[in-house]
Subunit: 311 residues, 4 copies
């Protein structure tokens, strides 16, 4: 498309991290300019400021748990929208400059989290190597490319970036860790429902009385909507005040989800809906027949006839 | 209105009963033809068949409880609509032919229920009178007018009908008994909401598991809708199957009531809504701010903007 | 048992009614003195006063619904206990003096309720007979025995009582009507659990807010306890105040039922438990495995070990 | 106490971290041997193996969120007990060797999380200093004491440990961050209730149907028990299976808490209670009168009399 400036997407940098890999997995990023930011806050602020069309940020890791900063930055400030999620299997590589042999590695650099996930492998395979820590795995890779260390434990994508050679793949101690990333943009129409969608929201409650959370969850349960994640977070405003970070099945364009969302103000002080988007795992929502859009249409028709006296 | 045939209303007869009094209290009955029927079933069937524009039937008495026949006849057969309720204080009179003196009364006739409610008065005031039973208090009054008995315990309206004289008023032993009547017509647009309305419905559940009734009531409770009467009735279809006769606050034209009704099919096998109508006692519904029509409009607007991406 | 005075039981009279038949079906009544009372109130007051060991009263009829008087008399006054229920199929007979032929019947007497249930049969079989009403079917039978009428529509038991002959059996228009009676005594240890028990209680709530009934029912539902009957009744104390007459599955000696009852004061102003007794239909309660006494014992043991630090 | 070996407590090391500071704030640690462990897993395993009497581990940080590793290590493996919580305000110091002047600092070492929380201060106060990362703030302090860097951003306690001088206090960018630590031991009797207690548990549910979490929370809500934290965690067993990490008000020795815990197996596949302990903030639980121990005793007495027939 000549004349159209390329899209720009931000991500939690630096270049060569898993977050960049997550962003590159999205078709929209194909011909886009990708801009690394030094923090989740900066990456999201760039979206709000219009510097980028969207930013990829990590939300949770199956080993490390939620990224609290991401939750807090999304819950506060101008509203943003989630348009996509990416699930990425965590897989580290040992990277060195071309020509490096594994047995020559004396100093390995990596991020503390990566070190924690690869400790046994490093002890077994490189028992004599010293391990140094860097602010990110990408920083480690860059340092290696600059000749400062012999090798880095980093994401495979860092090899490309810093023209390094893969000395070993899949070096993490445990298989199966997965990180979930969100692509966040300024508010706009949500992606179309696919039948396998997820909706992300924050619900703020004024006090911590026993019934507030129950009332909130009842609105989902009576409509047969599964929650896939719930986490209370201190709201920061004052001690004892909470908000709930909630992911549920379904799309806000669907009747049952829309009605549940519209009901939340009855039990919550405020609600922030971050949007609906296709589930990365493609698992279709299990919708009870009596809570599907067809059932809602039928009920609405029945109610309408009742109100018109044609019941 | 020349050329327009007068309206016709049925009621549980015979003439001169409290049900006729209830019907006469309704302005629409003013110039209408009033037709007594021998049973609730017949009075309602006449509505269904188009013989009358509506029928007045008793629903419950504060002393006697619900009139099961009325519940069952409304729950089965072609759907009907309740357009009005009437509350009538139960007040019996002792009626005799003009000229009769109370001390001359030797034989008193009345209906068994009236006899039960006036027993002490009769024993105290007319200790020597014999009490005979008739199928209705109106039958007793008619028999008195025909000279068969000396006096009748009947509704004050029966005095007019049978040209009798009131020998004593308010002869019931206990004050405060009230009967609630319903004016029933063929389905049509409901009366306009007044802010002090009631909605009457039947909910049929397929089995008696502990959660079915709870699920049903949850739909009312989450929307702040008070129930003013609930009663389980065997459905007749098979043992252990029930329906619930429910009165709730509010009008089906209101958002919270409409949404609650539309939700019932999620927990009920079927629902029959008999309509919304002004409360006879004029007590306005207590609507939580977050469940009022304004809150619903606001939530619908918010949801709509969210779906359009303008949120 | 020489020296022991025979038991005495009251019932809603007069003699020869279905209530007497219900009482006679109870083994304990076999050698007992049976005393008819003129009203439910009188029959229950006799229990409270110690005149009788217990009284049989009607609670509900599948056609007529609940007997409101029985509910109100049990809910108020000194507490009483229900120790047994009896289900009696409603079956009327046409009774005449020995030697009467059906075709000779000119005047039939019966109670208005019985007349309503046999109207078609009387019209078809005795089209020319006049029908007179009496305060009870037993009164009709007695009057026939005294030669005042030709025949009575009454309970079969009335034939014995008044030495009448059965001219026709099962004369009701509809099969399947059943009346449920309760045997009521002064408070005492409840009958042993049988696995097919019912518990009867009244729950009074202070106001009619939407959540009160829900909270009450939740206590049953979370413990897997089915309700078999629920009915709201105006409490009489003031307008808008209700109590709920509730029958549920299970016995108060069972853990889940006991815990649910003990929880009711959290949502009710007061609770009156009328007792637990075997279901007349012998249908065993369906108890979810996780709510059975075994599960409760296991949970109590676990909690106890937890509290002792042996968990 | 001669002859009694001193107590031994572990903690997430190395020495000089905030976790050590949390442990030192506990009286029991006063004369005890304190043993640093390289990971939460190792610190907890040492408890299970009997190497130490207890271990202090971080659970959540108001900025960083929950420590997922701690949750997962407590949820799996042999059961452990929480006997105490410690809240520690996060307060970093800039530490140097004695005699170091702030203006001479060229190279600052710290842990990445601390770097994130002090970034602005470092940029403003030490704009020219290079920041290097270490596996922990204590490692940074030790390296300074060894002369490898000029200064460390670390916990105040590290100054003592490594004989460093405080060059600046409270250097974090934001006030108010608090970390919550748990003292974990082998199962044993819980600390006595204080009226301001917290109970920590994990609830595993078999599937993610909409009602499972609701059922679980209902058990707390009906008994007036506030939740102070809830977080879903993937259970690891299979995709879509969750457990909930829950903190609630109250002590398992209290009736309402005990009954709620005993009820959880009705809605959960399994439950692991980690214990009850005094709240570090001393905020007493708000217990509705009808859910207090007195109300439970009254209800139990009432139920007992009812079962004995003395009701």
């Amino acid at each position: 498309m000549p004349g159209v400036p390329p899209a720009r997407y931000g991500y939690l940098g630096p270049a060569g991290t898993f977050t960049e890999a997550a962003l590159r997995s999205v078709p929209a990023a194909d011909r886009a300019d990708l801009v690394p930011y030094g923090s989740v806050a900066a990456a999201l602020e760039a979206v709000r400021a219009g510097e980028v069309d969207g930013s990829m940020v990590p939300l949770e890791n199956s080993v490390e748990g939620s990224v609290a900063t991401t939750l807090d930055e999304l819950a506060n400030g101008d509203p943003l929208q989630v348009t996509r999620e990416v699930l990425l299997r965590v897989s580290f590589s040992l990277l060195g400059r071309p020509g490096t042999r594994r047995e020559d590695v004396r100093v390995v650099a990596t991020h503390p989290h990566a070190e924690a996930q690869c400790r046994r492998w490093l002890r077994d395979v490189l028992p004599d190597a010293e391990v140094l820590l860097t602010p990110s795995t990408a920083d480690a890779a860059r340092a290696v490319s600059e000749g400062r260390y012999d090798a880095a434990v980093a994401s495979p994508i860092a090899a490309e970036h810093y023209r390094l050679q893969v000395l070993a793949s899949d070096v993490q101690d445990h298989e199966g860790a997965v990180t979930r990333f969100l692509l966040v943009s300024r508010p706009g129409p949500p992606p179309r429902p696919t039948g396998a969608d997820r909706t992300t929201l924050f619900a703020f409650i004024d006090d911590d009385h026993a019934g507030a959370l129950l009332a909130l969850l009842t609105e989902f349960a009576v409509r047969g909507i599964n929650l896939t994640r719930i986490e209370s977070r201190p709201s920061g405003a004052r001690l004892g005040q909470y908000f709930f970070s909630i992911d549920c099945d379904g799309h806000l364009a669907e009747a049952r989800v829309g009605e549940a969302l519209a009901a939340l103000p009855r039990s919550c002080a405020s609600v922030r809906v971050l949007g609906s988007y296709p589930r990365a795992d493609g698992v279709p929502a299990s919708v009870p027949a009596e809570a599907g859009d067809g059932a809602y249409r039928a009920a609405a028709g029945w109610l309408s006839r009742l109100r018109d006296g044609e019941g």
